[in-house]
Symmetry: D2
Subunit: 267 residues, 4 copies
């Protein structure tokens, strides 16, 4: 909270005399969450159509839909972890597998979150976040109010935006994953488009490709199982064009990482 722009303080808007009003603090940012993911194949043409150059399609439409219930923190702003309404949020996104410079990567064309800090922090990274209502089945450790993490338990994720249901997916747990297994969608670098339009009418003020520089990536309690996934039409979205033609698998896990910066290249 110590960035200074003239007499005003803040790494992001709003600037203020003491820098305490700023929404997004300087990284490092820490993330710990519970994820439900469904791996699927979209129509290959539809999956290719959401990619900007020079991202190349993998050809078979491989993609994943992920729901995640996050807790977040930042070294420079202890208020984010201290306040349960500030640092926590839920998000839902689709990630399409791509190739870049001959290596595997991913693209997140659409993502919804339920918290303004996450929204603004996401746009700084290039995540094209919109607001949505995300709900996810929670695991319980006692009683019968919800499912345990055990074979046969079903964990559901849902997302809606503007009161339209957009996607519903689930994993029915089969077994813990092999030691060392990491769901592919969670470990691929994600290449975003950072885009800031110019209200004054010029070319975009920012227009490049960026991926997060991440440390301390970890997963735990990874289970795999059967997946199901449905997308729904909304006149405000193009998610339904990516609807599954084949479900490849599904997982549930804990996941964590730290964002320390970004690697950038021309759009």
């Amino acid at each position: 909270m110590t960035d200074s722009l003239g007499a005003l303080q803040g790494w992001s808007l709003p600037l203020s005399p003491r820098g305490r009003a700023s929404l997004v603090p300087r990284p490092p940012w820490h993330f710990s969450g519970e994820a439900i993911g469904i791996d699927f194949r979209a129509e290959p043409d539809a999956a290719a159509a959401v990619l900007p150059e020079p991202l190349e399609p993998v050809g078979d439409g491989s993609a994943s839909f992920v729901f995640c219930d996050w807790s977040s923190a930042a070294d420079e702003d202890p208020r984010i972890a201290a306040d349960p309404a500030r640092g926590q949020y839920k998000e839902a996104y689709v990630a399409v597998q791509v190739r870049l410079d001959g290596r595997s990567a991913a693209r997140v064309p659409y993502i919804w979150v339920d918290n303004d800090l996450s929204f603004a922090r996401g746009h700084i990274q290039g995540f094209p976040k919109k607001f949505g209502a995300v709900s996810m089945t929670k695991a319980v450790s006692v009683g019968w109010g919800g499912p345990r993490v055990e074979p046969g338990s079903r964990f559901v994720g849902q997302v809606s935006s503007l009161d339209r249901q957009l996607a519903r997916g689930a994993v029915t747990l089969a077994a813990p994953a092999d030691p060392g297994f990491v769901p592919k969608v969670l470990r691929l670098p994600v290449w975003h488009t950072r885009l800031v339009p110019d209200l004054a009418g010029g070319e975009p003020l920012v227009h490049d490709l960026a991926r997060n520089v991440v440390t301390d990536f970890a997963v735990a309690d990874v289970w795999t199982g059967l997946g199901d996934l449905e997308f729904y039409e909304s006149e405000f979205e193009e998610l339904a064009q990516l609807r599954p033609v084949e479900i490849l698998g599904a997982f549930r896990c804990s996941v964590a990482f730290t964002v320390v910066g970004a690697e950038v290249r021309p759009a």
Copy 2:
């Protein structure tokens, strides 16, 4: 979903031809949650003032404030557990210790929840629920986005209603509780007032005292620690009159039970 009232179906409103619109199904109802609780003493006169006859004050103002993140289910309505937005909710309440027929019990004068199923189900029990926004620190198992369940970790709960902050409390974990320890506020029977006013101007249509008949009560992962708790003024509430004069302790745990019915006595 099979209660029949004439041609219409439903244990609660709304009635409908197939009984699928009804909000609250017949019990048994199952609850599993994560709780943060702070035990405190209110001013004894203030604690006594929230009790209806024949509930008697314990004399020292002993009370607890509890935040809970619930998953719920019902034997007769599998949709509640199947849909993550339907069965889950968060609530915050204050419980005042009482004596009834020479035995220890509790009274919950004020409680806030964030879900209409919980609201309606609560009023059927006599819980005087109002809507509120409840947030609670979540435990994480990997990474640095939130606290682990370990000594020194701080778990915060907050509740607001009508955009006014009402209460904020926290437990700073010290150590796991002894085996078999159950936080007192979770195991006391809670005597509610069931009260349904008559819009036609007569005496209340329902006015008695009731407590839930509970089975399968369980706690797990109980930790105790230092507590802190603050209440805030709102012109719509009288919670602030119960503000802590002494903090007695605090806990965090998983908790579960099943509600199968109610015991009723005259008000």
Copy 3:
């Protein structure tokens, strides 16, 4: 706020020492709102199927769907009108025309609101309210951000619940209604079922039919026009069974009334 139940005060829960925590005050209650309504015909059998005895179907499935943006007040609780988050709410409901004792009346089998005061006050009347997100086009008086009240303007209403879209309707204004015209759905008495289940396992604690006793009914600025209306499937609702087979008309107006009590008869 002066109802006394022993030492505790309140016409409805929660009871409290000074009666300031109570959610619903004693009537009279005042309502002023802006309504969008679409008159339609459902399948006659579907319309008949939502009626309890002795309500009789009118035979042709006549019904209306109404969206309303309400401000409410109560003589005994000035806080409701004083606080813009307390007294205001939006609701959406379907009303089916019926006959009772040879006279025209209506039944509201399904209704959604976005405010806990309205929810609890509704259940006291017998309105089978559930929570929903309701949005309605607002009229503007300057500029181009929204429609004016003028021929050709389109006013849309939408309702969703549990993140599922349930209904969307609109009126495209044609002309002001004739002086003295009152949309039929707004002036018919609505017969509700008051139903309070008994958690202790007995017969319902309350089960009768009731209609509001209303004074000071008024409408203003009534326009009529073309209507459109769509219902959507949700596994939590049976609204879609009432879907329109014919649109009869539509209106937009201001509406107001005061609820002073209820007339009750056996269910």
Copy 4:
């Protein structure tokens, strides 16, 4: 919806094959709203402290707090006006009077909104928007559920963020304003800081001053009256430092304008 960035479409994120997922369309943007405003003096030093160079304080701490219930539209995206949940939003902001190049202007250091389109569109302009819950008394035209626009009626605005109440203000109407009167805070150009931090660690990607280029500004139904205004502490805000030391007046009106672009100068 026709901006093309390579094969992908959209003036703002998210980009998509057909441009229908993009959150913010290219201007012109149209706004029509109902505003409650309270003119006040803050401590002059506090008012000066929120200004970046070269904005100069007016010296006496003159400022206004405004609540506005907006309907918005965009020439290139008819969905915004067509959907009542998309184009409408409420916002609350404080505007501090400034001098720039010898002319009167304003600065909005803090602003809260309840809609993601407004949030993203605001940041493109330089409005330092955060999410908040805003409520405002509505005028009614029939009945007693709310106030009429008439002498003595009181219209209240409230804003909270992260469940903390931030500001509450009201105007008690005295009389219609003189013809041609425009509340000063609504007609001053507002100079924003456009600021986009660089996650890659460099200087901000965007850092300049901008004001909207506006056409078709209009007000209607302007009433003035007595004002009251309170700010509340939040550890996430610095609004309370601007708390009123004197209330100068208050107004309620309809307001509209069109944003067609921006004028930009170095920060």
